[in-house]
Structure formats: C-alpha cells, structure tokens
Symmetry: C2
Subunit: 348 residues, 2 copies
C-alpha cells in the first residue's frame, strides 16, 4: 500500500501534520483526527459513531467495542489500569444496552517491566471480570524494546448481547428528554492527577472506576424508554453533552446547581485550574429519557449502591443543533463547548 | 486491588523477575509467561488455548480473538503494520473455522507521529478489510507522550461466526492425521528482517502477509474432516507443531524435504543464522486432517492462488506427547524443539 491515493482522498486538512497529545484528549482535536483522518479513509459516517458498534451474527444482535488503556500512573486511589481496562469495555457495551458476555485483552509489555508490577494488574482484571460476570475469553501478549512503551498498555475489546427491543442511539434523543447522571462527576480524573502531580488533598479523592452495566440493565428492565446512554469518560460530561447534541441535532441545557460534584473534587479542580464538567469518570452513566419518566428512573438508579448519587442535570430542547448551554449557580448562562486542547491526558 | 494474594497464588515461579524480549518471541519463555503468570491468575486451562475463543451469544457460536501489532519497521516488502493487523486477526478467526464478520482496531499513537506515516496504515487496513469482506466496526485512539511508544501500535480484535457442525480443536488431532501447509514458509520474518537490518538480498523477499480465511473455508466447504487449523506466526511452523503435539498428547514427524521454503528465504536464513522453520509467516495455514483426505485437500488448496504452494509436510504419530521430530534432508532425525529465547523479535 502507498499513501498517495488516500492522502488525496482526505477531505479535511488537519490543523497539524503530526500527532499532538490533545489528539487523545476527548476534545476538538480528537474529533478532528477521527473525522479528518480515520473516518474518511474508512468510509464511515461520524453520525453513526457510538460507544459500541452493532454487529448481526447468526440471528443475534451483538454490541462490539474496543478501548486502549494507557493511564499513567498505572495505580491510583480506587483502582488500577487492569480493572479500568475491564470496566471501561464493560461500560461501553452497557451503553448500547447490551449484556456483556466476553472480553479480549491484549498486552503490550515493555522489556524490563517487573512482573511484580504486571501481576496486580492481571489480578485486578480477573476480579473485575468476575464482578461483572463477564469472561476474559482470549488474549495476546507482545513485548517491545525498553524505551518503546510505557511499562504496559492494555487493549480490551468486548462482545455483548443486545436484548430484543432495545434500540439506543444518539439520534433517538429529542427535545423533551431529560438528562440524568448516575452519580457525582470527575472523581477518576482527579484521583489520577493527585497521584501524578503528587498532590495531597485534605480529603483524598477516590476514583469512581467501576461497572455501570447493572445500572443500565435496571433502567431497561424497568421498562423505561431510554433513548441513549453514554459514559462520561475522556472529556467528561461536557463532551458527552456536546456529542449527543450534535448527533441528535438538538440543543441541551444543563443546570450547574443540579450537577453532583463532590466537595473534595471541586476543591481539587480549583487548585488544578480544571473544570469538573470536563474531567473523566470511569464508573458513571449519562441517560437520556423522556421527562415524564425521570422520577421512576431516579428511583431505579438510587436503589442500587452505585446509583445513589443519581441526579437529573439538564434537558434536551429545540435549538441550534449541537448547542450546549449551562445555567450557572449564579443564574447566568454560558456555552459549554468542546475543549480545544486537552485538559487531562492519559487518564483513561 | 493489591498484588499479594495473587502473587502467592502463582504456582510456577518464573525464571526472570521482569519482562525480557524473548517473552514475546513465541518460544519457551513466552509459554512460561502465559502459563506461569496469566493463566493461573485468570484460572484458565492452557489446554483450552486456541487462536480464537468460542463464545455462545444468543444461539450463535462466535469465534473471538485479539492481537497486538508492534512490528518494526512498520512497512516492509509486501505489506505494512495496518494490513498485518487486519490479516492477523482475520486469520485467527479462520483458524477456528469461523467466517470473519467484524474487527475492532485500537490505536496507541506516540506524540509527534507524522500523519503521513499513519495515513497509509489506516488506508491499508481499509483495503485489507474490504478484501476479506470484513467490517472495521469500531475503534479507539489513545495518544501517549513522545518517547512512551514506538510511533504506533495497533491492536485488533475480531468476531467470526462458526458454521454449524464445525468443530476444530487441537485435541481433535490424532495419530494418522497428516500435516499440510498452504505455501512456503518464512517469508514474512525475512522480509521484515531485511528492512530492519538493511540487508539487500539478490532476490528480494516479499512478505506472505495476507488472508487465509478463504483457504480454510474451502477445505471445510469441500466436506473434509479437518481436525485443526493453526497459522504459523510467531515462532513459525516449529512452534505450531510443538503446541499441537503437546495439546493433543501426540508426537509429530515432519519431513524437511517436503517443507516448502523459497530459495531466497533459505539463502537469507543462512546469512542471518536463522532456521526457517522458526520464522513467522503471516499468510499461511497449517491443517491437520486424516491421511486419507490429503490428496483432496491439496487439490482444494492448490486451486486457490494463495494455496498453490500447498504441501503435505508431516504426520501425527503415537509417541511421547509433545515430541516433534524432523527427518532431515540428509536422512537423519532430530528434535524440533520450542525455541528457548527469541529468534525474531517484533515481526508480528
């Protein structure tokens, strides 16, 4: 293969000619990389993108997803790279309404990595998979020379079964929908940053790293007409709202006072100059469903330990497609835009 | 998670306390890493290992597999990292007798990687997927700091559908089976080495990098009673024969004179001090099936361009489980053992 025909076919010149850290940050540059390089070559439609793809196989409707995990440091308060790799993929399957069945895990190991650092990651994967009732079905290991990786990278892929009748998609989100979150935001990003930057907070922040598939399943089992799920990982809640608003061709209004953020997370964000609405979670879901079902949905979520902090944080309205507004605690309004650069690299 | 309970649970102390290059080489040390660290923690049985796992989903029987691709250099005569990532996973699905349906691709990109180097890889993936009739269904992109990866790593996972009645497994291999290969061996490893070491051969060696799923499907469609397929990637034919002999509890006798090795590959191996039987292929399959079906199987394979070089190269016999012997061209016999170290790092 040569580059020429495809380079010419690329419809939108990228602003850079090489990979920047912000291309992995979940914001505007990542969108540009995906929509300007990957999708045109692959002939894929950005509006069709979701956390999982849907694959028909022998009469079954499967969710299929993958994620690379490169977080640094590999251990943080509340979790490590291994369990993150399991929960991240389980949660992406759950966002399609699927019951997670099996995961693959591929390790890229750097020569010289002590086994004492690898073992707890693999052990955490096994424990996390058992907790989710999902099978670690297949794997691969590659080794690269010292200095050619950062200790260990784990890439997981997952298969889930989508129950009959479940149809979740951003394009189903419509004016009149409410936006719910399953708990307080930003813990994971702050937990990672606190270790990386060596910051000690008065109250230590623990990552929310954990599974949300049972929360999603409970909402569906209750017969609620969920239109879309999304987990606020890279780029946080703000990025989810922007993506959904753009895909669905709607506007979204979020209410700052209603968005649950732990005091310690808020304080840490102040110190670090971060906006918690852009900080990644690894154990939260965002649900879009009709306003009339909000009370029942909150009841379902709050009956589950991981959903106790569930809250209604905004609503979908008619308006310019892709516009996300935030009513601040001061009563003013501001735009909640996609980040241009990166806020927190390598926290997923 | 903490390491202690799992570290204690590890039943076989590893010979090293950190990752060595040879742990990725397909030989004895890789086996030790997998059987001494991964499988005990995951509670998996080494005898159950295959190129793909089988997952039941809504009545369908799926093959599921993953592979990381870290080859250096990323372009080589006959292919690049992108198409390798597609064919490698398509071929692993085919080894389970499955029809490949969908692939995921996860990119780990190093800050500073020129897009001009990324674009041809993605383009090659698309072309390879189209050639195989498989969908690139879902993907992920992560960026790591400069110096924390080697440009780009691609991890693919794949789903395939196993037709009713197809049951391929190493434990089905039995005395009386013949061993077939679909073409000449060692091209891929030598093609990569020639670029990496800057060696110019009189006759340039082109990688065999390509799909084998249609070869596998043709053998099954012909009604042949194939017991097992395996593709001779890392560790080459010798490692495949060792793994199958050990898993099936049989001995295998290979016939050096019958093993197809291109003259240019043989010459390059002489120069580089390599044994072609241990050098990786990326577009060959090894099939185990009853002696009585050999002629028909060779006919089926040779009718397909990629199978023109098919040959019967050995047979399965009663004998010490795991023993692989080679009858040399000189008429003597020698053991064809697993490699202890690595012969060719990072060629897959």
């Amino acid at each position: 293969m040569t580059a020429e025909p495809f380079a010419l076919a690329c419809p939108r010149p990228l602003r850079h000619d090489s990979v920047q850290m912000a291309h992995g940050g979940g914001g505007r540059l990542m969108k540009e990389l995906i929509e300007g390089l990957f999708l045109p070559i692959l002939g894929a439609d950005p509006a069709g993108l979701h956390d999982s793809a849907v694959v028909e196989a022998g009469g079954a409707r499967l969710a299929f997803t993958t994620d690379g995990f490169v977080v640094h440091p590999r251990a943080f308060p509340g979790g490590n790279l291994g369990e993150l790799a399991v929960y991240g993929t389980v949660n992406d399957l759950a966002m399609a309404g699927a019951r997670p069945l099996a995961l693959s895990s591929a390790f890229i190991l750097e020569e010289g990595l002590p086994f004492a650092e690898l073992t707890p990651l693999v052990a955490a994967m096994k424990a996390a998979a058992d907790r989710c009732g999902v099978r670690l079905a297949t794997g691969d290991t590659k080794v690269v020379d010292r200095g050619k990786a950062d200790g260990v990278f784990i890439t997981t892929a997952g298969i889930g079964l989508i129950p009959a009748g479940v149809e979740l998609h951003p394009r189903r989100v419509r004016p009149g929908d409410a936006v719910l979150v399953s708990g307080d935001l930003g813990r994971h990003g702050i937990a990672v940053m606190s270790v990386r930057e060596g910051i000690r907070f008065e109250t230590p922040v623990t990552s929310d790293c954990g599974p949300v598939h049972h929360l999603a399943a409970a909402l569906l089992a209750a017969g609620l007409d969920v239109h879309c799920f999304r987990d606020p990982t890279r780029g946080g809640l703000a990025s989810v709202l922007n993506e959904i608003a753009a895909s669905a061709g709607v506007a979204i209004e979020a209410d700052e006072a209603a968005i649950p953020v732990d005091e310690a997370v808020a304080a840490a964000c102040e110190i670090l100059g971060l906006d918690p609405l852009y900080v990644a979670c690894e154990g939260r879901l965002v649900a879009f469903l009709p306003e009339a079902e909000v009370e029942q949905a909150l009841e379902v979520l709050r009956a589950i330990p991981e959903g106790q902090g569930a809250a209604r944080i905004g609503r979908v309205v008619e308006g310019p497609a892709g516009r996300v507004g935030l009513r601040t605690v001061l009563g003013t309004s501001r735009l909640l835009d996609l980040l241009s650069g990166e806020q927190l690299p390598r926290i997923c």
